[in-house]
Subunit: 107 residues, 4 copies
């Protein structure tokens, strides 16, 4: 990742955000993993009673709420990875190579 | 995001991956949100019986497994956002502005 | 389970509750499993920023909220099992036998 | 709950199980809530790529796996409630009264 990368910028903004609120003692990986799954559940909640067809035509207010939950999951994921010293993009690139072996293409 | 951005590259790779395996009919937002929280739980599983102190000294084998779970969450999040037509980085930047208002800095 | 059993009574009350609200078409196992994990996350949320020691001295207001979340998980679990035609107590008894083999006692 | 109640019997069996394995130090509410959501996710995993129609005709092998995951969620829920000193059935009965007010019947 170059310094201009969007995830790196978010990582740095999250560091400053935690610094400015004295949140480092709370931001242990165990706690951040819990916060992450809580946000993932808030994302799931938008879909639990909706059919696939209803999801295809979400109104703008709900889409905006869904975007906020996607944001929350991404922010906690970046923060957790940072606290653990793991680069999420490198991890994802490595995992895609594994997945390509595990699930060979049909053609 | 520029075309060189790491998340955009992952998004495009995931599109091709789904194309090559005929997975589009499975990749509905409802299903992808479920897959995402399942991966988030596999991340949580690494921390459930470990204390904060034990997490601080994870061995390399466990760290590699944790990195794989972080990767899986990121990949499903990118894919879900793509299928919904939501830009996760823009959403995260917008959410950070909201968070700064909701949680004012201590100093 | 006898007819006087508390879980059976809750199961029957949940059936009537769904009948009276025309919720059967929503109460598909896939949807109920999603609702269940969302409630489990609301339970997790109470613990994410609290240390073990802080959890040991929860005040009554928080304990009441935690009890409500435990209730929600139990209710969706009973409902999901009912819709699937699975007896959760028989399943739990069977699983405890498996667990006793998987994790032998220390003494 | 009377002493003959199935949940009380499972609660007592789980206490003995933890005693015999010296698991009490691990069975803090924070950890048990994490374990519970991990089991909930293993339940969700069975439904993520299946349609409602496919879920309606699960074969016996999958149904047995689903029953095991329902069991795991129930066992961790009973254990968590016990460690917290909360009676899950009383909590569920109280919650159903609240729900009946929140969601009035259609008829």
């Amino acid at each position: 990742m170059t310094s201009a990368d969007s995830l790196t910028a978010l990582r740095d903004a999250l560091r400053t955000f935690a610094d400015d609120r004295d949140w480092h003692r709370h931001h242990r990986p165990k706690n951040l993993a819990m916060a992450l799954i809580v946000e993932a559940a808030e994302l799931v909640e938008h879909f639990q009673w909706r059919s696939h067809e209803e999801v295809d035509v979400l109104d703008e207010a709900v889409r905006s709420e869904v975007a906020d939950e996607i944001a929350d999951v991404l922010l906690y994921l970046i923060r957790l990875a940072d606290v653990l010293g793991i680069d999420p993009v490198t991890a994802a690139q490595r995992k895609m190579v594994k997945n390509a072996v595990k699930y060979p293409p049909l053609r």
